[in-house]
């Protein structure tokens, strides 16, 4: 049954138009991944308005391909320029950049792209198998279960996200508060608008994403005074083939990285810890572990496999539950709503063409992606040789265009600037931005789930514990929320040993 659906999906994904769309998405995505200040989330946000006139399946293929491209592009800057484009590419710089400086950039890039592909492919296969099952289970979910899952989503930012858990919590709460601004559709009352009519429709998270990630990121990078001193790519067919001959040796690292990536990835914020964890494990188990950090091929394979497995796995909760696992998935979810689709488990029954076309396009997109990036690396690397004084204003203009086009509103461009400044300050003070964006997106859904649950129980919070599924999920969520407190007590009890265990999680 599953195979039939998948075959049907492939029939949709490999139409010439959709393949062309995927190719455009990959190319743009890789460029976006290479450019400082533009990552997957705001790249998708900026291009979203262009998809309004497209059929939904082609639109989602464009946006997901853009995401794959951005994931690949992150590796290029990490390896050649020692600049991680995204947080989950940080671990790739550890061995990737030393390799590039030794003149082995070609090998490092080939290994990175191949590992990304392997990790992604592993996750896609698991999504193909598990997504329909998960959607089936989710169909039986009521409001308490959905609220419980949302709680779990946010608790994992606090408990597993690293950094200051209090600041993660503040980010989440602020995101929900911003999400509550505007018309309350249940009671028809205006909330937190203070008489400003423009605030009636609330804050659009797409504008917030463009501001927080796009403008905020560019402010951070000009502050650091980036000068791109890149290593040469040294990429040709012989190098690719030669590296491919060596790679099967690291099959254990591939398997380990894929599992870590998928497991961490379908929980929010998972890609970054997954890449570090995979790196740490590879270093621990490798016979050449002491050579890590000096330019080991395995040190590139490990984080890249896990990061991509996690990046793809983040799509699983989005298509099955309607709850995005990452800011990029959140923007895509916003797209789904704009294209007139109802995200959630019903999607599998109501729009099988869309869901299976999307899943099949993950296969085609990643195959296309690895070929494109391998072939055009020097071209992409050349983008970073464009003078910074041209790139910076160009990115600001592109962000402004994207912010305006969402609702054709000048107000949104002003909001983008304000969110940009906020993003800069928050990033510097270690307030995480991803949970803020997710809370802004999920605000209405979470509030409605909570309201309906409370109406069902006539105001008693006990309902979340009385139903078996939500009871288990809420308990795990509470455990995650308390995890920072528990670990600090544990450490004090053990006699204040250093943060050795925390180092792996980071």
């Amino acid at each position: 049954m599953g195979l039939e659906n998948l075959a049907h999906g492939f029939a949709i994904a490999i139409t010439p138009f959709n393949l062309f769309v995927a190719l455009v998405g990959i190319l743009l995505g890789t460029i976006i991944g290479v450019l400082p200040g533009l990552g997957g989330a705001n790249g998708v946000a900026i291009l979203l308005p262009l998809t309004f006139t497209m059929p939904p399946t082609s639109a989602i293929i464009l946006l997901t391909s853009l995401y794959w491209g951005a994931l690949f592009g992150g590796a290029i800057t990490s390896i050649l320029f020692n600049i991680p484009g995204e947080p989950w590419s940080v671990a790739t710089t550890f061995d990737g950049f030393p390799m590039a400086r030794k003149g082995q950039g070609g090998q490092a890039l080939t290994a990175a792209f191949t590992s990304s592909f392997v990790g992604a492919f592993f996750s896609i296969v698991l999504i193909t198998l598990f997504a329909p099952l998960l959607a089936e289970i989710a169909l039986k979910f009521g409001p308490p279960e959905f609220f419980a899952i949302q709680l779990l989503t946010f608790s994992s930012f606090v408990g597993l996200g690293g950094g200051n858990p209090l600041k993660s919590l503040v980010s989440i709460l602020l995101g929900f508060i911003l999400g509550a601004v505007g018309l309350d559709i249940v009671t028809g009352q205006l909330r937190l608008t203070f008489g400003v009519t423009e605030l009636m429709k609330g804050f659009d998270f797409i504008v917030a994403v463009i501001g927080l990630f796009g403008i905020g990121e560019i402010l951070l990078s000009v502050e650091e005074g980036l000068s791109f001193q890149g290593a040469r790519t040294g990429m040709n067919l012989a190098v690719v083939l030669q590296t491919w001959k060596v790679l099967p040796r690291y099959w254990r690292t591939f398997v380990r990285g894929s599992f870590i990536g998928f497991w961490m990835g379908f929980k929010p914020g998972g890609a970054t810890p997954a890449s570090f964890m995979s790196y740490a494990f590879a270093k621990r188990f490798s016979r050449r572990g002491d050579q890590f950090g000096k330019g080991e091929l395995e040190g590139v394979v490990a984080p890249e496999t896990a990061a991509h497995a996690a990046g793809v796995a983040a799509m699983l909760p989005m298509i099955t539950l309607g709850i995005p696992g990452s800011p990029t998935a959140a923007v895509m979810l916003g797209g789904l709503i704009i294209w007139g689709l109802q995200p959630g488990p019903m999607l599998f029954q109501e729009k099988p063409d869309f869901v299976w076309g999307l899943i099949a396009s993950m296969y085609t997109g990643n195959i296309l992606g690895v070929v494109v990036v391998l072939a055009f690396v020097p071209l992409f690397a050349a983008i970073l040789r464009i003078p910074f004084a041209i790139l910076t204003p160009l990115i600001v203009v592109v962000c402004a265009v994207g912010a305006y086009a969402v609702h054709n509103s000048m107000m949104d461009i002003w909001l983008m600037l304000i969110f940009g400044a906020l993003g800069y300050v928050f990033k510097k003070l270690d307030y995480p931005l991803a949970p803020l964006v997710l809370a802004l997106v999920l605000g209405d859904l979470a509030e409605n789930a909570l309201r309906q649950s409370l109406i069902m129980s006539q105001g008693s919070l006990a309902i979340f514990f009385q139903r078996p599924i939500s009871g288990v999920i809420v308990s795990v969520a509470i455990l995650f929320f308390l995890l920072p407190v528990i670990t600090s007590w544990w450490r004090r009890w053990r006699g204040g040993t250093p943060l050795a265990s925390a180092a792996i999680g980071q």
Partner: protein, 153 residues
């Protein structure tokens, strides 16, 4: 760094208090349709006030030497941010295309010290490409001003 941390947390406490006041106006209890409009924002804001207050206490108890941003770091940030603000102001009157051309040209000249031919070609070329892609190809209208009207769009 500590001062910035304190200020931000205090601002967040203030925001929380404002939200609480507005939530109380809307009602935070049980109404006709279940929880009232202020219910959800109220508890969110209470949470934020408490958490931010703890962050304030943490910051007070810590002595750090780092600064939020040095003068040398802040300069390029403002060089991006202030002209960008000016661009959005100009956009209100002249439209996005003219405003972005001016902004691109200004930044390239002032920060990058590029040669005039480069500046002219890029700062006029980029808005034209944007126009082709958005208005012509994908039919997404962007803010236009007197120049576009004069050209007949």
């Amino acid at each position: 760094m500590r001062a910035a941390d304190l200020t931000t947390a205090l601002v967040l406490v203030a925001v929380g208090v404002v939200v609480i006041i507005d939530a109380l106006r809307l009602g935070v209890g049980w109404g006709m349709e279940g929880p009232q409009s202020g219910f959800f924002p109220f508890w969110l804001a209470v949470g934020m006030v408490v958490t931010s207050a703890i962050i304030v206490l943490q910051a007070l108890g810590r002595t750090t030497t780092g600064v939020f941003a040095t003068r040398e770091q802040l300069r390029p940030v403002l060089i991006v941010l202030l002209p960008a603000t000016a661009m959005v102001l100009i956009m209100e009157g002249l439209g996005l295309y003219v405003a972005s051309a001016l902004y691109l040209g200004f930044y390239m000249r002032w920060v990058g010290h590029h040669r005039w031919p480069t500046i002219v070609v890029l700062s006029i070329g980029i808005p034209i490409v944007t126009f082709m892609v958005f208005e012509q190809w994908f039919l997404v209208p962007l803010p236009k001003g007197p120049l576009e009207t004069w050209l007949g769009f």
